[in-house]
Symmetry: C2
Subunit: 406 residues, 2 copies
């Protein structure tokens, strides 16, 4: 049993935000049908690809799947329809009539031009939850601007807030401009389904990449920071805590956030600096001399390995951890225990591949977390048209000749 | 009408992740009762505070609310209970019996010590959705470690993946180690409520900060990057696109992501470099000489103002935008049009304050997006005990004397 059992989603999205949103819905139990144009989006053409006989970097065959679709396509059936052809659009609308949710992240105006925007579809599909993810949302002066992760990180102010005061604005090392909107979209879809359960009607879910990143940023009092004249970006420390920073160790870096006076007192002992306990007895005293407090901890950390420093800090109950390489997680005992990363599977292979993707990071005690593997592009075109629309093989062959089917 | 009408949430959380999760649930229509210890968490003691007569930085009075609770407390009632006292725990459990959801983000083990963990409560409350947000989740070797945003950014590898190859690991300039788990938790809660609507039973929702950030990071093929020997962090560009970077302009920076060959061709004209169109006719050719392609665009950008460069790029349909200060958003015409930032309200004042908080970034066409303002600490203690538990004023006065109530 899963939370979204019985929900069918048409995933008419491409690249990152829409496909990630629909992967989350699939992992929560929805039946997801991914609609793609002939050839698929560009993620199908990245290398390596995984096929029935293993991975390679050659021209992909019909059963080969690149890593991104292997990851974001988990739990989805793949159908190829050409929405630029009238027969393709017709099949799309007939499929939509059997679905509860549509997710799209087309460039602004594209769904209107196809006649597949919310206002065109809603009258005939009043129960439909129609979710759009766009750069700037469905109204406002920037509505028609194309966007991308890098662009919305820049426009939102997140890039200018990340980095060091004497360095340049810095991109976040994960595609959060796509993935955070994907998460808000999934939340909006599930919430709208609940509202529909109560009142019987679907609605439009409009998620903007810009709004999503502003929501993250403005959970801090940005306007008060501006009024205080604080620099836009402050590196790894925080003027609101001491010690609170990332410190260089003998072999790397350790992050620590000390909040309790009793822990500071014990840390002074461990550092062999008992005089600091009386000099900075509480949070206010430490904050008033923040640079000296951080410098004392920095001097101590420089003499330790990262592991030794973190172990001593954790033994005092201080939130601390090593700055680890992004490449370390697959070997981490905790990540392995939790199964936080999953070996991706190919449907033609009994053994999982060696490529990893994230497990759904929502652990539900009464729901199974597993999904079916991704499918090769268009692998379910015929089956879905047969199962959901009752099309005969002959009719499917005819439609394929028109170019409407992949 | 709102999606979560009729859902009652007990928000027994503190600081960032739990309160943000419950703000999202409140903005989606849930009735949220925030339970706090006497004095509240430390966010109540940050300055400035807003009171009936305006903002100030003095000692807070009983109706004063600091900016963080003013923002994260939107849509919530505030009740003060001391869970360290038996009478406080007893009231908590009686309130819980009237609720659908509990959200907590206590340090590992704290809810067990209070007898308020999932296993203790579930037998008597089989319909309860119990959501925990912790650093490392409910099992595994790091289960008992305390964590914080900075620490999980470090441990997940996100910090080592953010920044420039010749610079240090870099903290993301928003508290995504707290807020992304808050989002997954909200999604898990709403999904679990839907499952309960179907099968009648609640469940545990276990969200780890570490899993949440790994999910963001591992939407890229990190293992393939490792196999290729790519550096951990790559600055603002991306080896998978050209031109794709943040470029210095005459007065700032502009971000651009070019994906279409036709746009490249037009850009070469605009840059006065028609020879580059034939030298790099397609994506593969540009990627093979990525540094030269980026250098050509960099030279052009250096001669433009940011606004002029972005305007010309957008006119070609190229996703582009200015790198803006985090302080710019409140004046942005698009942000103003969308109402992406809201003036926070104090319940004792008819006019909103000048402090801003994010609006819910999920725009629902059939749901009202407004919430009530946050309340002063403990403002609804008596009313909630009267309304939900039917306590008489005399009994409330007796309990207050024990110290169980704030």
């Amino acid at each position: 049993m899963k939370p979204l059992d019985g929900v069918r989603v048409l995933d008419a999205s491409h690249v990152v935000s829409g496909p990630v949103c629909c992967w989350l819905l699939a992992a929560l139990g929805a039946e997801v049908i991914r609609i793609e144009p002939p050839g698929g989006d560009h993620t199908w053409r990245t290398k390596p690809v995984v096929g029935p006989d293993g991975e390679h970097r050659d021209v992909p065959g019909p059963r080969d799947i690149a890593i991104s679709p292997l990851r974001r396509g988990r739990g989805k059936r793949s159908v190829v329809l050409d929405l630029k052809r009238e027969e393709g659009r017709d099949l799309f609308v007939r499929l939509l009539a059997t679905c509860d949710v549509l997710v799209e992240n087309a460039v602004p105006g594209a769904m209107e031009r196809l006649g597949l925007d919310y206002d065109s579809l809603a009258p005939a599909h009043p129960r439909l939850v129609y979710c759009s993810i766009t750069g700037y949302g469905d109204d406002g002066p920037y509505r028609d601007r194309p966007s991308m992760d890098l662009v919305v990180q820049a426009v939102s102010g997140l890039m200018a807030k990340t980095g060091f005061p004497d360095g340049p604005p810095t991109k976040v090392g994960a595609t959060i401009g796509d993935q955070v909107p994907a998460l808000f979209a999934a939340l909006g879809v599930v919430a709208a389904l609940r509202q529909r359960d109560r009142e019987g009607r679907g609605q439009r879910v409009d998620v903007a990449m810009l709004d999503s990143l502003l929501t993250l940023l403005w959970d801090e009092p940005i306007d008060d920071f501006a009024a205080q004249g604080l620099p836009e970006r402050i590196g790894n420390g925080d003027p609101r805590g001491a010690p609170l920073d990332v410190f260089t160790t003998r072999d790397g870096y350790a992050a620590l956030v000390l909040t309790q006076d009793a822990q500071w007192s014990q840390l002074c002992d461990i550092m062999g600096r008992p005089e600091l306990r009386t000099r900075y007895p509480d949070y206010r005293a430490r904050l008033a001399d923040r640079e000296a407090v951080n410098a004392a901890v920095a001097a101590w950390c420089r003499e330790q390995t990262t592991d030794a420093a973190v172990e001593k800090l954790l033994a005092l109950g201080i939130p601390a951890g090593p700055v680890r390489s992004p490449y370390d997680a697959p070997q981490d005992p905790h990540v392995l225990h939790r199964g936080s990363l999953q070996r991706l599977r190919h449907p033609d292979r009994s053994e999982p591949t060696d490529f990893l993707g994230p497990a759904l990071p929502i652990r539900l005690s009464r729901a199974d977390g597993d999904t079916s593997p991704a499918e090769p592009l268009g692998a379910s075109t015929d089956a879905v048209l047969q199962d959901l629309l009752g099309l005969e093989a002959q009719e499917i062959a005819r439609l394929r000749k028109t170019g409407a089917l992949g």
